[in-house]
């Protein structure tokens, strides 16, 4: 039984995207309140990609990105990785810290905490939505942050996926403020068997 991800139907993908949208809505509200500015978040795309092509989604394997990684505990153990291009990460940090745009050119430990907190909020909001739809209690671990080449950061989750198959489920997330937007990518990587648990709980198991 390889690549259970490839066997997803349109209906199942729609369900996962819809949960993503609800989760993004929750996270946007939380973020807006923190920085006191209106932020919208949408999930324009959900894609199933061959592992080798995943780094291209975020600008190629040697593009510099920030990644926040969390483990998910509960009946459907999973991993969550939230990736931002470097400039988007700096943009968000400036916004969160109330600084002028373009101020940040490298991250201090306070900035790193801020980024991890964003990852935390996003993951929490997404998991809330997922828990709501599935009645499964899913809890995130504390976040870990890395700022490095996209391929290197992605390898962490691609290796986990690689043990099961050759494809990844990618949920694209877009933040927009009144003036401009930043793009992020949110990866939900269910452990072996967890995807079936989630789909069964939503009620869209084939």
């Amino acid at each position: 039984m390889s690549d259970e991800i490839l066997k997803l139907s349109m209906l199942q993908l729609d369900a996962l995207r819809e949960i993503g949208n609800v989760g993004a809505g929750n996270s946007a509200t939380a973020l807006s309140q923190i920085i006191n500015r209106k932020i919208d978040m949408t999930v324009p795309k959900i894609a199933i990609l061959p592992l080798g092509e995943v780094p291209d989604v975020v600008g190629g394997p040697d593009a510099m990105v920030a990644g926040v990684y969390l483990r998910v505990f509960g009946p459907a153990p999973s991993s969550i990785l939230f990736l931002l291009p470097r400039d988007s990460a700096f943009y968000l940090v400036d916004m969160l810290m109330g600084r002028e745009q373009g101020h940040t050119t490298s991250l201090n430990s306070m900035d790193e905490s801020a980024l991890m907190e964003i990852g935390n909020i996003l993951a929490g909001a997404y998991l809330n939505a997922l828990s709501h739809f599935t009645s499964l209690t899913l809890l995130p671990s504390i976040p870990a942050l890395a700022m490095d080449m996209a391929g290197a950061i992605l390898s962490v989750i691609l290796i986990q996926l690689g043990q099961m198959g050759d494809h990844a489920l990618v949920i694209e997330t877009e933040f927009t403020t009144e003036s401009d937007g930043v793009k992020g990518h949110f990866f939900l990587i269910p452990d072996p068997g967890s995807l079936n648990t989630i789909l069964a709980a939503i009620g869209v198991k084939e």
């Binding site: 039984m1 390889s2 040697d62 990644g67 391929g151 962490v156 290796i159």
Partner: protein
Amino acid sequence: MSELIKVGMADYKVGSNPSSLISYGLGSCVGIALYDTAAKIGGLAHIMLPDSTQARSAENPAKFANTALPLMLDEMIKLGAAKNRILAKIAGGAQMFTFANATDVMRVGERNTEAVRILLKKMDIKLIADDTGGNYGRTVVLHLDTGIYLIKTIAKGEKEL
């Protein structure tokens, strides 16, 4: 004509002087460079996992050290390399994220590196240089004119093996 041959994740490529083989953004993966100094023929494998027999899905042999290396070696020999002249250099096997209670899942870089070392010994290929571990990504280039294995990082600069 010198050519830069890209090696993707879970892939391997072979080539000869004056080309170079490059693989971008290695994290926990390991980049295994094999080189025959006399024939100036080399190969670069970007492996993700140590062992195909422990995986649920093993359709792509280039993903695993134990299946990628013999295939790459065969292709090098077809190009004119001699097995007894081939030497190995390895890089990668980092742990990108650090948790207080790192599980086995997180230590996959370390396990990859260890498995590659054992495998090279088993295949009777001498490992002459390495740059493994740490918590940062690496881009690697194997120059087939000299056999130099160049390691590029964002935080730690460049290094030649």
